[in-house]
Amino acid sequence: MISLAGRDIMHAWGKFVFTGVGLGLLIGVTLSMAGIYRGMVDDAKVLLDNSGADLWVVQKDTLGPYAESSSIYDDTWRSIRGMPGVERVANITYLTMQVRQGERDVRAMVTGVTPGEAGTPGWPPYLVAGRQITRGHYEAVADIASGFKLGDRIQIRRNHYTVVGLTRRMVSSNGDPMVFIPLKDAQESQFLKDNDAILQQRRRTAENPNFNRPQVPGLLEAVIASQSTNPYVNAVLVQIKSGHNADEVAQSIRRWKRLTVYTRGQMEAILVGKLIATSARQIGMFLVILSIVSSAIVAFIIYTLTLGKIREIAVLKLIGTKNRTIAGLIMQQAIALGLIGFVVGKISATLLMAPFFPKYVLLEPLDSVFGFIAVVVICVLSSIIAIRVALKVDPAEAIGG
């Protein structure tokens, strides 16, 4: 039996290909949107993986350090290190800010890491160029997505840092590249005020009779000194010894240190379920809208193509063509349009959109499979209106009069 749909497509291939390309670009955007969501989830997981931590100890009753601000004393780590099951601990600070380099600035997640050695929680697990931070101050390791190069001088607040190492895929859950600097510098930059603000604060403190008592020498200086130092970090990262249960160690820290502790699973749930939940809902809405628009386009095109063939359909019915053959002709054309669109969409998403998108776009093969199934289902559903029109065509229309 002749494939009527195939012949019609071959006869008007230009119309089909151009329509398919248009639809394909829409499908490409849809796949890219799904890829953006996957990229956000992956960024969140990468952030957790790269921290090298099994547990995150944060300020009590907060969702820190990524989803909420969290401050705990920077000596808390000492008492945690001595607890059963704890292998290594390290303070960490996170601050998303603009990092300047010459005339340009880059939004980055500035991460303060404890001096130590490779493998210390919070340290970048691997470098693609240069070396790790070895000095206590003014050295930085940057993700290559920041655009910084080895030897670049970058400015964070008032201090300048030399980029000594480059890493890859070290990003925040928002996709901002990470810049690692020594912990002390990071603590300072989190709370460092400008000179005017410092003078103002000192003046106000000196004018406060509670702090400036003539009969207590040295009190004012002690208060001012405490105001200009920062004894806080955002979290303590904990690695547990092999053979110990993360939940049990976390429970122990919660009980004895009265702090909030998250395991890897809990932290992932916070990042995916809370931090990127709104973005995920927005992307979900876009996917729904794009699917509806795609359906409308396919339905309109197939409907228009069918209206253009009413006479031929009447002739086909008159000469004895079964309804299912005519329905098959229309449905196969809709599916063929979807296939062209999907191929174009997949290629455009992979080669044209994902590499140039400012955020990480992760195109999962399984998403493509679901996308393909969705396209076929949409095309089949979209062809229903045209099929209804075709099946209502009276074969008598082929006979004049």
Partner: protein, 236 residues
């Protein structure tokens, strides 16, 4: 399959009911023998198209009796159920315009019918090619309809009407778009094929050029048919 012609007795068709009812066919009687080509002539609104649709099994008559190719297809309210198969196997259509399927080549346009009837592709195509030889369009077998002249398209349309060897062919003004030479050629082909395949052919026409070629003519006026002897002029 071919043979036994067309036999119609007291055929009626009423559209609507009550005060708005219209009797499009009031009393139609026709006999067309196998191998015979008759003309059907009538002014606009006389019921020609309704008769053609009833004969073509696309509308159901209201009363009367209709036998096509020896098979009763309508008898006072009873009608064959599978009209689609009836049209495919027993009736060939040739329209005023060829109405070839534009995305199928000439061979496939014709071979599609036997394929729809379940005949293997190779045999269906070989049937089409045989008819092309008889109709002198063999050299255009692989062309697309848009590449054919009007006369060639109409010959292909005739081949499509004949390819399933139906006992009945209904030709609805098949020569309307053609000049007199080509119009007469089409009628000659229909006569030849009618004789060769034992097919009964009804040609609905207004075409003064071809009316003298019919040996018998049915006139239809206000839904009633009248038979008249034609000139049966020989083709030049």
């Amino acid at each position: 399959m071919a043979g036994k012609g067309i036999h119609i007795e007291g055929l009626k068709k009423r559209y609507g009911s009550g005060d708005t009812a219209v009797d499009a066919l009031k009393n139609v009687n026709m006999q067309v023998a196998p191998g015979e080509v008759v003309g059907l002539i009538g002014p606009s609104g006389s019921g020609k198209s309704t008769l053609l649709k009833a004969l073509g099994a696309v509308i159901e008559p209201t009363a009367g009796r209709m036998i096509l190719g020896g098979e009763v297809i309508y008898d006072n309210g009873w009608m064959v159920k599978d009209l689609r198969a009836l049209r495919r196997d027993k009736i060939g259509f040739v329209f005023q315009a060829p109405y070839l399927i534009p995305f199928l080549n000439v061979t496939d346009n014709v071979a599609l019918l036997p394929m729809l009837a379940g005949i293997p592709n190779a045999e269906a195509r070989s049937r089409a090619v045989e008819l092309f030889k008889a109709l002198d369009v063999e050299h255009r077998a692989k062309a697309m309809p848009s590449q054919l002249s009007g006369g060639e398209q109409q010959r292909v349309a005739i081949a499509r009407g004949l390819v399933n060897h139906p006992p009945v062919i209904l030709a609805d003004e098949p020569t309307a778009p053609l000049d007199s030479v080509r119009a007469l050629a089409v009628i000659r082909i229909l006569n030849d094929m009618a004789r060769k395949l034992e097919t009964a052919i009804i040609v609905v026409t207004h075409d003064e050029k071809i009316i003298p070629t019919f040996k018998r003519i049915y006139h239809i006026r206000d839904g009633v048919t009248y038979e008249e002897a034609g000139e049966g002029r020989e083709f030049e």
